[in-house]
Amino acid sequence: MLRRLVHCALCWTLSMAGVAGLYILAGAEFLGLAQLIVYVGAVAILIVFAILLTQRRELLSIERLTAGSWVTGVAVAGLVAGCLWIGLAYTRGLGGAGGASGGPALETRELGELLMGRYVVAFEVAGLVLTVALIGAVILALPFEQPREASGRRADRPAAGEGWDARRQGGQGA
């Protein structure tokens, strides 16, 4: 078991790269490289940044698990994985010729035509979601600013999260 969160994150990155490798092995080169760019290039960096920004020094290592959560968690996960495994074991007809690693590869052009043609709505929606997520993430991660005298425009806007804080305290008081 890895004790350090950063190691976890890096190993996670490695496993994402491994998944990308599996994609490429399956002939989906474009997908694999996209996975690499997104997960290794962006999400992994986000995660390590989040780790660096949120973990106090003593928390950089992971807490020990309580027995209860350990048992329930692993049990449920094992159950689900086991069910999947069993289902997989009883499935026939997946090892055919199409499954050979030498099969036809994914044509990037075809994928692009699908994205820009029949599924253009899905593509646009994905773009919209990304944009909204970008803006949302920026707004969420903006540092809370106390009202300053210097900038009048900022002062009349309630700082992000202020209302939430107040409500929380009110809830505790009640």
Partner: protein
């Protein structure tokens, strides 16, 4: 080589129209930008127009002169628009853009002091762009749209000085009178569309001006025993009558002189009035369809010829008794338009167009000269208060004189002579009647007479205007240069239309021209040339004897002609009382109808509306009641129920993320188990 211009022809009207759009957004102070935009865009259009002109050269273009495209689709019916580049369009484009460009440059000087300079150029560009669009139209619908845009632009420009009541009234009059003709045109187009199912002129054999459609139109018979083709032609000709100021709808044209001089020049030379003649020329195959083979025999064209001939001589007579410098020219325009119509009517299609182009140049020149004189005399327009200007304004005088000689038809060196001679020749050959020829000949004499009168009173003799004598000045170079260019063009243009080398006619008919010097000396040609020169000379001499030999000394001295023929003169001075007659009949009856409707509105409809209102109020009251006692309680109850449900459901939520996660996982597990064993 030049076939690209056919695809890009739309740029020609677009350039001025775009400039107009930009100018509409330009602030008042942007005078320099306005001038640059207006003149620059029109220069682009001019260059392209000349390219189009050469592109329309016989044998230059490839197959297919027209470019059509679908504009709108109603159900399964496509509405197609398009443009065409044939010799007619090419020549008109070159003429309109060139003349308009010179007038634009001229207006730089003429309108220099006007505070609304920017607006003026905006409208001017709009005007020129609309006309260029009209000329290239292949679809009669497009033509009609541009036609109306031209009408709108003329309204805006005639009423440019709308603070002057006379200008506002003139604009309104021009707009309304031409609308009367346009109604006929619109009806004609609708009729044409119902009969042929297309408004495209040329569409590879399917257009409404092509043989297949025309044959159908000639066969069917309309109201009153005339063929459909004739009926449509006459309706379309109504539009031309209105736009080109033919009798009886000519009354707006002289009044249109209230606009700035460049506008008058533009309206009279290049754009507005030419549109009517152009329309007739454009639908000439339809007009002519009735009697195949020999041109000028169909019922429609006979009508055109008679209207033209009457207009030609009547307007010339009126012009002889006017005192407003620009108004004389206006009636002269009406008269010349009559000549063009007459030419078209008697079958001289190419000659009529030649006269249109020639007239555009020399009438523009005359207007610019008149404007220059007016400009120099501090906006004095009454020729009785002018006189002797040749001393102060030599260039204007020379240019004006060239224009005058071209208009009067001084032989050999001026295009007006050749074009008018061609018209007379065509009229002589008309088998229906010789009367138009005689009327035309009379018109020639009258034209020479009133032009001589004008020249003598404006440039000859002594200045009669009073105090302002010292301040009379020649116009600036920016006004002089366009005049000189036009004067040179007027002389040069005479080369391409002589019977010896009728280049323009052959061009319009799509043939290569050849020099046939012998035609010049045919008996008939020589005879008519001699006759017209003789009549013209008589007119000039009469004018000189009455006005030139003993110039008047004072502004309020009576007119020599009035002394000779007081009754005729006063009738002519009052423009044959057309306006008064219209006032007594059309306007009066319209006012009466308006009053009748007013009474109906007040007494009948209002009461009905009031009762309808009460009914609506009652319905509203009922509706409110049902809302308050029926809908609202039901809705509130529903909301309360939903809220209660929500409150109950929210009890399920602990608000702990980890617990949620576990619930999700448990659900997932359950689902996996069910899918595996279930």
């Amino acid at each position: 080589m030049m076939s690209w211009i056919r695809e890009w022809l739309w740029l020609i009207p677009l350039a001025p129209l775009a400039a107009a759009g930009l100018l509409a957004l330009t602030p008042r102070a942007g005078r320099r930008r306005a001038a640059w935009l207006g003149i620059g865009s029109l220069s682009v259009a001019t260059v392209l127009s000349w390219a189009a002109f050469f592109g329309a050269w016989p044998g230059a273009g490839g197959a297919g002169r027209e470019v059509n495209f679908t504009w709108l689709t109603f159900g399964r019916t496509p509405l197609e628009l398009g443009w065409v580049l044939d010799p007619l369009t090419g020549a008109m484009l070159a003429m309109v853009s060139t003349v308009a460009l010179l007038i634009f440059v001229y207006s730089l000087g003429d309108m220099r002091a006007d505070p609304n300079f920017t607006r003026f150029f905006c409208f001017l560009s709009f005007f020129a762009g609309s006309m260029l669009g009209l000329v290239m139209a292949n679809s009669l619908l497009w033509l009609f749209m541009c036609w109306e845009l031209v009408g709108l632009a003329s309204y805006l420009l005639i009423g440019f000085w709308f603070e002057k009541p006379a200008a506002a009234a003139a604009a309104k009059k021009a707009f309304l009178v031409t609308r009367i003709g346009d109604l006929g045109l619109l009806l004609g187009l609708i009729y044409l569309y119902t009969e042929t199912g297309t408004l495209l002129c040329y569409d590879e054999g399917r257009g409404c001006l092509e043989a297949a459609a025309l044959a159908g139109l000639v066969e069917r018979v309309s109201v009153g025993g005339i063929t459909v083709a004739t009926a449509i032609s006459l309706l379309i000709f109504c539009g031309a009558i209105g736009k080109s100021g033919q009798v009886p709808l000519h009354v707006w044209l002289p009044d249109a002189m209230e606009g700035p001089t460049p506008v008058s020049a533009l309206i009279h030379a290049a754009t507005m009035v030419a549109a009517g003649v152009f329309l007739v020329a454009r639908v000439y195959p339809l007009m002519d369809a009735d009697v195949a083979g020999e041109p000028g025999l169909s019922a429609a064209l006979q009508g055109v010829a008679w209207v033209g001939a009457v207009t030609a001589v009547m307007a010339a007579a009126i012009a002889a008794a006017q005192f407003d410098l620009k108004r004389i020219l206006a009636y002269s325009t009406v008269s010349q338009l009559g000549y063009m119509m007459m030419a078209l009517g008697v079958g001289g299609y190419a000659v009529g167009m030649f006269h249109l182009i020639a007239h555009a140049f020399f009438k523009a020149l005359l207007f610019l000269g008149a404007g220059s004189a007016i400009h120099g005399c501090h906006h004095e327009r009454d020729i009785r208060r002018m006189g002797g200007l040749r001393r102060w304004m030599p260039v204007t005088f020379a240019a004006h004189a060239v224009g005058m000689m071209a208009l009067a038809g001084v032989p050999l060196f001026f295009c007006g002579f050749w074009s008018k001679d061609g018209i007379l020749h065509a009229a002589w050959g008309w088998p229906v009647s010789r009367l138009p020829f005689l009327l035309g000949l009379a018109g020639v004499g009258l034209t020479a007479f009133y032009m001589m009168r004008q020249m003598a009173m404006v440039y000859g003799g002594e200045y009669r205007g009073g105090q302002l004598k010292k301040e009379i000045h020649e116009s600036p170079a920016v006004m002089r240069v366009p005049m000189v260019i036009l004067a040179v063009a007027v002389v040069l243009l005479s080369v391409v239309g002589t019977p010896a080398w009728p280049w323009l006619e052959e061009f319009l008919e799509g043939r290569e021209a050849a020099v046939r010097a012998g035609d010049l000396f045919e008996h008939e040609t020589l005879w008519i040339m001699g006759a017209s020169a003789l009549v013209m000379g008589a007119g000039l001499v009469a004018g000189w004897r009455l006005y030139g030999r003993r110039p008047q000394r004072r502004a309020d001295a009576p007119d020599p002609l009035r002394m000779a023929q007081p009754a005729v003169f006063s009738l002519l001075e009052q423009r044959l009382r057309f306006d008064e007659v219209y006032e007594a009949t059309v306007v009066r009856s319209a006012a009466w109808a308006a009053e009748a409707w007013d009474w109906l509105e007040r007494e009948v409809w209002q009461g009905l509306m009031q009762w309808a209102g009460y009914g609506a109020l009652a319905a509203g009251w009922l509706s409110r009641l049902s809302d308050e006692y029926l809908v609202n309680p039901a809705f509130d109850g529903g909301c309360e129920g939903v809220r209660g449900c929500g409150r109950g459901m929210s009890g399920w939520h602990g608000g702990r993320l980890r617990i949620y996660l576990r619930v999700v996982a448990a659900g997932m597990a359950a689902m996996a188990v069910w899918l595996t064993w279930g």
